[in-house]
Structures are given as structure tokens and as C-alpha cells.
Amino acid sequence: MTFHDLNRAFDEFAPTPEQEQAMLDRLLTERKEGKAVYHIKKVTAVIAAAALLLLACAFTVATGLDQRFLAYFRGTEGDAQAVSGGVVGVGQSLRYDNGWTIHIEQVLADRYSMAVLTEVVAPEETVLDGEAYYFELGMELPPSAQNQAASSGWGYGPVILEDEDPGDNRLTFLHTKGVREMGAETLLGQSVTLRPQYLLESGGRKISVDFLDEEHSCTVVLPEQDSGRTWEINRPIQVDGEEWTLGELYLSPISLAFSLNSEGNTPRVWGPSEMTSMEEEADLHLKNGDVVTVRRVVSQTQDGESGEIHSVFQTDQIIPPEDVTAVTILGQTFSLRG
């Protein structure tokens, strides 16, 4: 795909000259008439200031949580304790004949999602200083654990963590995965096989490395312990003008997950484009009055048989579930008290 293809696509969004003129006329007429400007009430996302991470060591002392995870979730040493039950130190290096090495550093998991920290090291002469890279890491459960009906949906790819030295041959990635993407009901106690697949670079020299040429992988056992809490909400929720049911809601210190059901709606009613609109819609209301918007979508999936939607978000800060008093989804607030 070329710039021309992309520009051609975006050109289609431009207004016609007639539309431009009509909107301007309306605007200037309203101005003359002194019409009141429509103000929309905003929910202010109160995000705690990012903690200064002054520790020089790579792991928190008490929990073993990698500092890069802690920085990603903008946590303090104290916050790390809340997620300590979900930490799996891996520390495995997969070395390839082509000179590349993938370090699988650590996994952080809860009941419904997991995050994997990896470091990609290119051969010495290769500098990873391009504009954008995509590293695909396979995360699979054994077939015996894949007990959920087929589902469709989408999840986000990896995030490149801040590159301290853009002139070197290293990049650190954080991959996330939702439980339903992996075909299971829970990730607690599961064995997950991590297998690097490929690395692509956009533009420039276009690095393209296929890691599947060699059979390297590692298997990690996720913790049995659940750092989260589950609420059976079972209350109506308006979705696109129709009544659905908000079923189970789950909160861990790093994630929010919930299910939506509707008897009257078959799976085809929901399409990926509608589901994407949900990514701006979750807010956590805290005991101290703060409202934290949850923006990181891990996955949105829909059960192929029942039509149930399962959404998993990751928070961008560590929040103990007991500090959350209510959750707003699609503009509707559900109390978690009692």
C-alpha cells in the first residue's frame, strides 16, 4: 500500500464545496442571531500523576515486577505489591541462526488478560531506529484448554516501550492478549506457549524477519492466584438503542472485563466497527472521588453461538479493585457497592 492509496482513501472524507458553504452559512447566521453555543458535559478523566521512578534496579525489590511494567502502568513500588500475584518471571532468551535474539522477560497476568514483556535484539550491525515496527508474538494455550465456543473479534497488537537509545539494536515490546482470543474461559493456572513469529518495519529499509523458520518457543505457567474481583451485575444496559444485559464484571489492579448479552440479538447485529466505539466508554469511579478513564482495549470478542460480547480493557495505572466504587460503560454507571 502506498501513500497514494492512503491519501486516496482519506480524500473520500473531504466535504464537497456545497457542504463547506452550507456549514459556513449556518455558522455565520447563528453567530449573527447570537445563538447559544452548545456545551457538552465532559467527564473529566482524573489521572494520577505518573510516579517518578528513581530506582536504578530492573525489578522492584518486594515483588520482582520489572520496572518497565511498572512504568507502563505508571505505578510506584507500593502499587507493585497489588499485582505481585500475577507476575511470572521468565528470563528466557531465544537465539536464532540469523543473529536475532528474543528475550522473553516477564509475564503479568490475571483471570482474563495477560501482558508479555519482550526485548528484541537485532544483529550488531542492525540499528533499530526506524519509524515503526510490528513484532508478532504467538501466545497459545494447549488445545485441551481451549474450551470456549468459537468467537470473533479483535485485539490490539504490541506497544513499543520507550526506546532509551534509538541508535542501538534493541527494542522492548509489550504484547497483550485477552482470554477469549485464546479460546479459554480463564487464564488462571494455564500453560501458555510463547512463540515469536515475525518482525516488520514500516517504510525505510523495511526490515522483515521471519522467526518461524526455527522452532523456538517457551512455555510459561500462569499463576493460579487471582488478583481481581468479580461482580454479577445482571442489569440492563442500553446498547445502540436496544436493551442488553451487563452480566459479569471483573476488575483486577490492571484490567477491567465485562460481558454483554442480549437474547434478541444475533451475533450478526454486532460488527467490528460498532465494537470499536466502546473503547472510549469505560470509566472507573474511585473511593476518593476521582474518575479514571480506561482506554487500553485488550480485546473485544463475540461468542459465535450465544452472541455474548466479552470486552477486556487494561488500565493505564494500577488500581486496586477495592478502590473502585462504580463503573461507567457506554455512558451508564453501575455501582459496585454491596
Binding site: R31, Y38, V159
Partner: protein, 164 residues
């Protein structure tokens, strides 16, 4: 722009940026009436803005951020609206011509993907600038760009567009 600004100044600013603001609004709102309303609201906000813009780049950046925020606010209400009937949707898709197909492909991407692609490839902002506009970090923008471009490419290929 403060209230003292004359209609001509407003019209000039509007003509400089309406195409961009409308493109962002249509990309995010996914339908023409809502995109037009959102565009109007953005320019109403410019009329109310009581500080001067530092320079043309500041003016443009302010409009991008305001357009995105406006659409986000509107989308909070979008779910409550009546959806088109299944029959109407099928009818629309039968009549869909090639240009609408391209729009549909962009609309099928997550909102953040649409924004980074548009700002980087169409408006020419680099990853650092896109990150500042969207309130995220440059490395996130870079990975999102690769991902979004790849997703769009696959979708365009699947729909039969000739992609080199």
C-alpha cells in the same frame, strides 16, 4: 479567536481548515449529518476561544484536538441512537460504490488507528507530533502506525483493491 473577531476573519479561518476538521469528524462519526454537526461545533468553539493562536501550526493543532474531543463527546451518546434496520443496511451495502467502500474500510479500523494514519500519512505529522496531538507517546504511535497500515492493507486487498 475572541468575540471581537469579524465574520470575515472567521470565514477565512473556516476556509483554511474546514476540510481537515470535517475529514476528522467524518472519520470518527461515520455519518454525514453527525460529522457536519461536529464540524459546526468545532468552529463555534473557535469563535468562543478567547486567546490568540501563537501561529498557524498552533491554530491547526488546536482544531485537530478540538475536533477529536468533540467527536469523542458525541460518540458517548452514539450508542443510544436508533440503529438502521438490517434491511436498510443491506440495501445500503448493495448500492455502495467504490468510494464508500474505501470509507467503510477506514471506518472499520479502531478510532486511534484512523487518527494516527490520517495525521501521519495525510497531514504529514511525524510520530512525535502525532503523539503530542493525541496525548500519547511516540513509540505507541509508531507501533500503531505499522499495525493500522497493515490492517488497512489486508482489508483493501480482501476487498479487491489493487495494492502494490
Amino acid at each position: 479567536m475572541n468575540s471581537a473577531h469579524r465574520g470575515e476573519e472567521m470565514a477565512a479561518l473556516y476556509r483554511r481548515h474546514v476540510s481537515m476538521v470535517y475529514q476528522i469528524c467524518l472519520m470518527l462519526m461515520k455519518n454525514v449529518p453527525d460529522a457536519e454537526d461536529a464540524t459546526q461545533n468545532v468552529f463555534r468553539k473557535v469563535m468562543e476561544y478567547d486567546k490568540p493562536f501563537r501561529d498557524p501550526e498552533h491554530e491547526k493543532a488546536w482544531l485537530i484536538v478540538t475536533a477529536r474531543n468533540e467527536c469523542r463527546d458525541q460518540l458517548k451518546h452514539w450508542w443510544r441512537r436508533k440503529r438502521e434496520s438490517e434491511e436498510a443496511l443491506q440495501h445500503m451495502s448493495c448500492e455502495q460504490h467504490r468510494d464508500d467502500g474505501l470509507k467503510e474500510l477506514i471506518w472499520g479500523l479502531p478510532e486511534k488507528d484512523r487518527m494516527v494514519l490520517y495525521l501521519h500519512y495525510y497531514q504529514g505529522y511525524n510520530a512525535q507530533e502525532v503523539a503530542e496531538l493525541l496525548g500519547t507517546n511516540p513509540s505507541t504511535v509508531r507501533s500503531r502506525l505499522v499495525r493500522a497500515r497493515q490492517k488497512l492493507k489486508l482489508r483493501m486487498e480482501a476487498e479487491g483493491y489493487d495494492i502494490p
